[in-house]
Symmetry: C2
């Protein structure tokens, strides 16, 4: 996706440990016009996958999921990382390790919002080692729902997530795949 | 806002401690069509306030803010509750106590994304005691930006947040104000 790649090149910041930060338009400040193009691109790639619902994980994924959902005309469910006084009823639970936060979170979805047989599209901002997607797949599997596909804004092609998910047979569509980062900057596949 | 109130009456769940849960369409599963009507309603109420940016707080606020931002044609910034390896640079920091999570969080916005003189519209899902809005106002004030207004989806009119914010002179627009909850259900103002 050309305008996304141009934006990553113009504003993406690279930090040690292969960390790529796009806080100026995706993960902290959000350019909603760009997000609309991202939503349309996901629709274009998954429109024939009979998507019933979009599943993502808080926090950044929510913005992507709700904008994309306007094109699919389906509801969004976001998996929650923490419990509150509002946590009641039965949940599907999994655990996801976040590399960038260096912490493992218990992640859950209320059983009412993932139903047997539904085709669920996973959308997320980054794909690195695949932990978040695998956790969401686990929740979908527990619900006896189906994974319609996995849509990723930025895949770090030099980490193993993409290989793992594709080897498991899931349709993975990444709008930008970064193959490496070095002293000359960011290199796309 | 009629369709919102009808939805709250149909699907809102009331728990002890005056907790009102709308997880089926706003806080866990999201009805994006309803969210669009909410976004339009905020635009209608604040379109003359010269909004330059929308500020919210993760997680549920993000969905509301990005959909509304499509009408205002401005960027969204969401305040973050936790630090990660990606947390670099200078931040405005405040602390916000969450009643429903029973915990005080350090909340921050990178200084790059709130600028002196900007008119910032705060959007959030619930207004109860006003802690979240007051925290976001604190961040805006630290940045020498201005509060264009505060838009709330559901105000708990029986808690003091609305009174506190209006007494401070901020334009507060709540799409549904709940005056009380009792054994007969939810009563709107």
């Amino acid at each position: 996706m050309k305008i996304l790649k141009e934006r990553i090149l113009a504003e993406g910041q690279v930090f040690s440990g292969n960390i790529i930060k796009v806080d100026s338009f995706l993960n902290h400040q959000i350019d909603v016009q760009l997000l609309n193009e991202i939503g349309k691109a996901f629709y274009d790639r998954f429109k024939d996958h009979h998507v019933d619902k979009i599943l993502t994980i808080e926090a950044s994924g929510i913005a992507i999921a709700v904008i994309a959902a306007q094109y699919f005309k389906v509801p969004v469910v976001f998996a929650k990382k923490s419990e509150s006084k509002l946590t009641t009823g039965l949940h599907y639970v999994t655990s996801i390790h976040s590399y960038t936060k260096d912490k493992t979170s218990r992640v859950q979805v209320a059983q009412s919002y993932l139903k047997e047989g539904e085709n669920v599209l996973i959308l997320d901002d980054f794909l690195a080692n695949g932990e978040a997607s695998l956790g969401l797949i686990d929740l979908i599997t527990q619900a006896k729902a189906k994974v319609a596909g996995i849509g990723i804004v930025i895949e770090k092609g030099f980490q193993e997530g993409g290989i793992r998910l594709r080897a498991l047979g899931y349709p993975v569509e990444s709008l930008a795949i970064i193959d490496r980062v070095d002293e000359n900057g960011i290199h796309f596949r």
